[in-house]
């Protein structure tokens, strides 16, 4: 644990932790205003911040927190309802406390005074009747330990109103728990006293709660109960050992009997060494410990590794993959079967290593989604809207770099949805919708990609306004036909915003183009769907990782290039007829659809004459297709992406480079850019 010994420093750490607990409790309290534990947690956090703050000279903190604490004391005692308003104030106050702790200058005194004023108004309001309940909350947590708890109650304890069931339930609430009743003391029916307690219990509990918590369970029956509490550790082991450790059997007896070949348990019981109940209990312990060890292996089998080391590992795996590709190429021209077999083995191993390494770098997207709870809450509040945030697929994993770089675009999208998409409660009611709007964040795997969606049930995109705006900006000739999908795509154009009123949240015409660029930068794509009156859905398709892709290696002139395979739809031959139609538009008919094509030899100014049989690689991005005319399709190529230096930042056709099997560098085509170029080749394009 922290080595700090200065109470002042400890307070700073403690306060930071308490503020996090406070915020989490407040956010959860919104959904569950009756949860006593949450209220207690919030109160205690405030109480400790105030008390300790005053002790260590944080007078402003203590003074400010005091009023809030009083309010939550009233909430705790059922005199004040934990209303959305109070929680809103408390969240803002939490931020203010954080600022105050940061230093007297970091906080805005006027804002603080305003918050206090609002708190006292609320506290002065009539109290909501509610019953106060005793409060229990989580204690300090320690490492997982398995405990063997054996307890029995005095025979007359049931008569005196002691009920063992709540005790067992409380133990169960601490963690995985195996309860076994020992019935060996139950007399024959004729002798049985129906109100006496004959049972004892063996409980195997694996928990991070400290011993004190477990003893605390029995604190009120301590005088009349028989209680043994022992840490089993993760010893577990053989049945005989367990029985001996529990004192149910002697070591020598077990040894003697175990020398036979029959199952030890059966033997021990038959020989009368241990009773049936003891045996069952010991077996239960054996099983419990094994299971607990198994689940703990999953829980504690994680190691924190600096991200930098992972990046280095990824680099090295990248090099290995390149070297392996090179080996594969050399071996292809070789007749030695043994060498070929080794090369295949190395390919299998390096692919496995690549996948494992990529797996290490992935993290669940939930960590990113969680940040939106607060954003949505604060923003909808500021905008006077009532919005519920739902999430799904939080466990979906993707590369940590992708997740980090996804934050800003998602913030933009969510802000837009809240600002322009979801209507205020009155407007919603008028439109026949529930007053509360709904914003949904979801994530799911789809092949080698991840689909992240932000969906709202707001008013949808206003096509007329989009169109007007696009015409105004010269993106669209007035009255010209445009497909709905194309019209929706215009929201990604720089400078286009449909907000009639510029708000502080969005609507300055920056946002969606920034989103588009960020998503392009992640080699992802973005799609919009919107139904007027029903809502808008923005779908981001993102690669699982930024480091390695499967590519299609092609040759144009004497240069070799890589096209990301995920963008490739098909390869066709360029017919002489299509090739010769130099005049007019370059279009190719693919099963009835006209697809524009780009001659990469021209784009790349290759001086060499074209191959006689050119190929067209049909690629797609953002639901649009473009054909790329190449001289030769060489084949699949596992590609480790290297970024281009700033010296080549002005070259738009390439998203990066890679090293081929023979050691030369090949450029990776930026499909998104080329598709946009190909599509834009025809209508007049804005000068940039």
């Amino acid at each position: 644990m922290a080595a700090a010994t200065d109470p002042h420093q400890i307070f700073l750490e403690e306060a930071a932790e308490l503020l996090i607990q406070l915020e989490a409790a407040l956010l959860s309290l919104e959904a569950a205003p009756d949860d006593r534990e949450l209220i207690a947690t919030a109160f205690r956090a405030l109480h400790t911040i105030k008390g300790s703050g005053a002790m260590f000279g944080f007078d402003a903190v203590a003074e400010f927190t005091h009023q809030l604490e009083s309010a939550f004391d009233r909430v705790r005692n059922g005199q004040l309802a934990p209303s959305a308003e109070l929680i809103g104030i408390a969240l803002a106050a939490k931020d203010h406390i954080r600022d105050l702790i940061g230093g007297p200058d970091a906080a805005d005194p006027a804002a603080g005074a305003d918050l206090l004023c609002r708190v006292s108004q609320l506290v002065g309001a009539p109290a909501a009747p509610s019953q106060a309940a005793p409060v229990a909350a989580e204690g300090r947590r320690e490492a997982m330990v398995t405990w063997r708890i054996r307890f029995g109650l005095a025979a007359d304890s049931l008569e005196r109103g002691i009920n063992p069931l709540p005790l067992l339930d409380e133990l169960r609430s601490f963690g995985p728990c195996t309860v076994l009743a020992l019935t060996d003391a139950v007399p024959p029916l004729a002798e049985l006293d129906p109100v006496a307690c004959y049972l004892r219990w063996d409980v195997m509990l694996t928990t991070d709660h400290p011993r004190g918590d477990i003893e605390g369970v029995f604190i009120f029956v301590a005088d009349e109960c028989e209680l043994q509490l022992e840490a089993v550790g993760d010893a577990g082991g053989r049945l005989g050992d367990i029985l001996v450790r529990r004192g149910d059997a002697h070591p020598e007896t077990v040894e003697t009997i175990a020398a036979g070949r029959e199952r030890l348990g059966t033997l021990l019981v038959r020989e009368g060494v241990v009773g049936e109940p003891q045996l069952r209990s010991a077996l239960a312990e054996q099983k419990h410990v094994r299971e607990a060890a198994g689940s703990q292996a999953a829980a504690i089998g994680s190691v924190r590794v600096p991200a930098e080391r992972l990046d280095n590992l990824m680099d090295q795996v990248g090099e290995l993959v390149i070297a392996q590709a090179r080996l594969k190429q050399l071996v292809a021209a070789c007749d030695d079967g043994h060498i070929k077999a080794v090369a295949e083995e190395i390919e299998r191993l390096s692919n496995g290593l690549r996948d494992t390494t990529m797996g290490i770098r992935t993290v669940p997207i939930g960590s990113l989604f969680d940040r939106f709870r607060r954003l949505v809450r604060d923003l909808s509040h500021d905008l006077g809207k009532n919005v519920r945030l739902t999430m799904s697929g939080e466990e979906t994993e993707l590369d940590k770099t992708v997740i980090e770089r996804l934050n800003d675009p998602l913030v933009h999208i969510v802000r837009n949805s809240l600002d322009h998409g979801i209507e205020d409660p009155d407007a919603r009611e008028l439109a026949g919708k529930p007053r509360q709007g709904c914003l949904q964040l979801s994530a799911a795997h789809s092949g080698a990609q991840v689909l992240v969606k932000v969906r709202d049930d707001g008013r949808g995109l206003d096509r007329d306004r989009l169109r007007a705006k696009a015409e105004e900006m010269g993106l669209l000739v007035p009255g010209a036909p445009i497909t709905d999908a194309e019209l929706l795509q215009t929201i990604f154009h720089p400078g286009l915003s449909t907000a009639a009123q510029v708000t502080s949240v969005s609507g300055r015409g920056v946002g969606m183009d920034v989103v588009k660029r960020a998503v392009d930068g992640l080699r992802g794509s973005i799609e919009v769907a919107s139904v007027p009156g029903e809502g808008t859905e923005i779908a981001l398709t993102l690669p699982l990782t930024l480091a390695i892709i499967d590519g299609l290696l092609v040759r144009v002139g004497n240069g070799r290039y890589v096209i990301p395979l995920s963008a490739v739809e098909e390869c066709v031959e360029l017919s002489t007829a299509d090739d010769l139609r130099h005049t007019g538009r370059n279009f190719l008919s693919i099963r009835g659809d006209l697809v524009p094509f780009i001659r990469l030899r021209q784009t790349f100014r290759s001086p060499l004459p074209a191959d006689p049989y050119q190929k067209v690689v049909i690629v797609a991005a953002a639901e649009r297709r473009v054909g790329l005319v190449v001289d030769q399709v060489i084949g699949d190529h596992q590609t480790v992406i290297k970024s281009l230096s700033r010296l080549h930042a002005d070259v738009a056709n390439f998203s990066g480079a890679t090293i081929l099997g023979d050691g030369t560098v090949a450029l990776i085509l930026d499909v998104g850019h080329l598709v946009a170029e190909g599509q834009a080749a025809e209508p007049p394009r804005q000068a940039s």
Binding site: K642, N653, G663, V665, A666
Partner: protein, 151 residues
């Protein structure tokens, strides 16, 4: 580093560009390569026409002769690539510099380095950091970082 008037000396790698002798501080130099396959980057400026593979890294290859308006001679058996590392746009960047010929690592005395003359220079004065003498030859010290940052 600005030419200082001390007596301290530093090591510099001298090389030829179109018949003139240039020198870069030896601390920048990572390695010197014989000519290797260069991948042309279509659409790039003439000054940084391609990419090379330096020990598994993709490194831009730059031709200073373009910046100095010199004639670009064909690749000869003497042609080398001087791989240098420098701080560019706030990040450590590795660049390959084409050289017609690499001479030696010479010991230059800072006192012997003078500011480039304000007039009489064939090249943009801000591209030259200083001029020194080595024997009877003039040695030009290019302002490498500045040249690259200028784009």
């Amino acid at each position: 580093m600005p030419p200082a008037s001390g007596n301290r000396s530093f090591e510099a790698l001298t090389f030829a560009l179109s018949g003139e002798i240039f020198a870069v501080d030896a601390y920048m130099v990572r390695e010197i390569l014989d000519i290797i396959p260069v991948t042309e980057v279509p659409g790039a400026q003439d000054f940084v026409p391609g990419l090379i593979n330096v020990r598994g890294r993709v490194v831009p290859l730059a031709d200073l002769r373009v910046k100095f308006g010199m004639e670009v001679a064909a690749i000869s058996p003497d042609t080398r690539i001087v791989v240098v590392e420098m701080e560019l746009f706030g990040e450590a960047t590795i660049v390959g510099l084409l050289a017609d010929k690499v001479y030696e690592v010479a010991e230059l005395t800072e006192a012997a380095i003078e500011d480039p003359p304000a007039i009489g220079m064939k090249w943009r004065p801000d591209f030259i950091k200083g001029v020194g003498k080595h024997g009877n030859d003039f040695i030009f010290i290019p302002a490498i970082e500045h040249i690259f940052a200028a784009g």
